[in-house]
Amino acid sequence: VRAAAADIVAGVLLCGVAAALWIGAGYIQTRTRGFMGPVAFPEGVALLLGGCSLLMIGRAAVHWRAPERVGLERPESVLAAMVLVALYPVLIEHLGFYPATGIWLVPLLWVAGCRGPLVIGGCAIGFLVFTKLVFEMLLGTPLP
């Protein structure tokens, strides 16, 4: 991907965050308005973020023909890893910690590039034993 294009996409998304921050500041319910109130700082942050993001977009547009590129290797694996990571809290809420982690770690390790079934199984079981011993028994952390 062209570095300038990536900068523009990031700049537009961050401009959106700044706009949301600015609009959201209007919904803060307070009687203290002005610079001493709770609204001024978020508005200032929105201006800083929005201004810098616009500058980033402008600079990327000016340097559009620059040869720099953003490297993205194994994009399908990274995307699959993100999806799996996002599935984990859902799995935990439905299955509980140990079954969810066991089921989840196997495909995650495979997506990460691990191919040996013994290594994958060993890592998954090893992690579960580790969490049982350290988190649950030693530290007393209640796991879902």
Binding site: L21, L49, Y88, A112, V134, L139
Partner: protein
């Protein structure tokens, strides 16, 4: 008074849990530092959930020793396989790897660990003197001074921003935006709270774990096709102290350079190592040998990088301003234990800073011994496939995040910041300014409003206070200087260090 405070610290540290925490910190730090891709900030963020059940002293001792050990251990893969374990070790690799190619791996490893040990001890003494002095001076600070210091800390973001200052400010803006979510620090009104889980703000630890560790997992997945550089033989390490004798002045000089550079907030181990290396090269009679296995280069970078750990702790402990990304994470850890870094820390909880000082001095001989004896093991660690590391670190990230709040919402926070952090790294927006802004944002806002309320809304209060004014002028200068460079004048290009 210092002696008395050390006695308090000795009392707080006299337990097996603190000793075990120290040993665990060193061991985990060595392991993490030996694995390319895992830095001290990732290590600290991942280890914080293990500290919830510990006392504040035991947990901070564990995290600080981990920080020290990780910074040293990054040199091991840098020397042996030309892959720095932590960013600062990239400078060590410049001369360490050519030494290994010449068959001097054992010598290079011995020099690097002895340099690290010497630099850590000397700079810890400097830390004790400087932090206690700054803290006693800062006790008289009011809201104006704190506001000015927070602005100064944020302006130094340019040094944490990779190549582009503008992107550093974008990261800063994003961090400040994340920091305003939650209950307002002064009026107590909710801001941007769309779920009850956000009432106390964005979870700092889940966000940290996401920004530093989970985003690194995605980078590891991306690179997991690359096998670690193979290592055919395990070098033997002599531990001969005599090796350092011809380089004693280099060692002292680099330690001082590393400490002084890193005391400036935002200037961590990497900048210290680069500055010290460049300085040593300029002083050398044989600068052409730098980058080709000159031991002076190796010592200069290792001593400075390791001296930067106590250096970065000085502003963190005395002013509450993080000196590096790792100290920003340490502030998060202390806050979770109900301890607020800053000048009052030396009055209210003197056992905390003095336990850190004591731990840094006591743990150093163990760290050096473990480094010298454990080389065959750490060498094996460098060979662990990235795919396994990625899977296990991802699981640790989410488990640690859950444990921080016993709430699944914390996991969502980590995932959000992990994906955002990965995307931002792709466009060269580093996570460190985001974290710095999250730490300093509320400090800046609450003190700015307190100062205005105290002065009855009079803005001149920020410029009539001498110390506040000096800090604000420096902050503006730090921000403006990069734009005031003479046009057409580019920095000289060094064949080894680059521009």
């Amino acid at each position: 008074l210092i002696f008395e405070n050390f006695l308090h610290a000795a009392d707080a540290m006299a337990s097996w849990s603190v000793v075990l925490a120290m040993v665990a910190g060193i061991l985990v730090g060595y392991g993490l530092g030996s694995i390319p891709g895992l830095t001290s900030s990732i290590g600290i963020a991942l280890l914080i959930p293990f500290t919830f059940d510990m006392s504040a002293v035991a947990s901070i001792v564990m995290l600080v020793t981990l920080y020290m050990a990780t910074e040293y251990a990054g040199a091991i893969p840098a020397i042996l396989i030309n892959t720095p374990g932590v960013p600062a070790a990239a400078v060590t690799a410049l001369d360490g790897y050519p030494m290994r190619l010449r068959g001097e791996a054992g010598q290079a490893l011995t020099m690097s660990i002895l340099s690290a040990g010497f630099a850590s001890i000397v700079s810890t003494v400097l830390l004790i003197l400087s932090a206690t002095w700054i803290a006693s001076f800062a006790l008289a600070f009011g809201p104006v001074e704190y506001f000015a210091i927070a602005v100064l800390g944020l302006s130094l973001v340019s040094s944490l921003s990779g190549d582009s200052m503008l992107k550093g400010f974008v990261g800063l803006g994003f961090g400040l935006a994340a920091g305003v979510i939650g209950t307002d620090p002064m009026d107590g009104v909710p801001r941007y709270v769309f779920t009850d889980s956000l009432l106390s703000g964005v979870g700092f630890l889940p966000a940290l774990i996401g920004l530093f560790a989970l985003s690194a997992v995605f980078s590891l997945v991306e690179k997991s096709g690359d096998a670690p550089s193979p290592l055919t033989s395990v070098p033997s390490v002599s531990g001969q102290v005599g090796l350092m004798r011809p380089h004693l002045w280099t060692l002292i000089r680099s330690t001082l350079v590393g400490f002084i550079v890193s005391v400036i907030p935002g200037h961590g181990a990497t900048i210290s190592a680069f500055v010290s290396y460049g300085f040593q090269k300029r002083l050398s009679r044989t600068p052409e040998t730098f980058g080709h296995g000159n031991p002076e280069g190796l010592i200069a970078s290792e001593a400075a990088a390791n001296a930067s750990v106590p250096g970065a702790l000085a502003p963190m402990l005395s002013l509450g301003i993080p000196g590096s990304a790792s100290t920003a994470v340490l502030i998060g850890a202390l806050t979770l234990h109900g301890v607020q870094p800053g000048p009052l820390l030396f009055v209210r909880n003197p056992e905390i800073p003095f336990s850190i000082f004591a731990a840094m001095i006591i743990s150093m001989p163990f760290m050096v011994a473990l480094g010298l004896v454990g080389i065959p093991f750490w060498v094996r660690v460098t060979q662990v496939p990235r795919s396994i590391i990625a899977g296990l670190v991802a699981a640790m990230c989410l488990l640690g995040s859950y444990a921080s709040a016993n709430d699944v919402f914390a996991m969502w926070t980590t995932i959000f910041f992990g994906v955002v952090g990965y995307g931002m790294r792709k466009v060269d927006i580093q996570p460190a300014p985001i974290v710095l802004a999250m730490v300093l944002g509320s400090l800046m806002e609450s003190n700015y409003r307190r100062a205005l309320i105290a002065s009855g809304g009079d803005w001149t209060t920020f410029v009539t206070n001498p110390l506040g004014l000096v800090c604000l002028i420096i902050a503006v200068a730090v921000f403006a200087l990069p734009f005031l460079k003479r046009p057409g004048k580019s920095p000289p290009h060094d064949p080894v260090l680059g521009s």
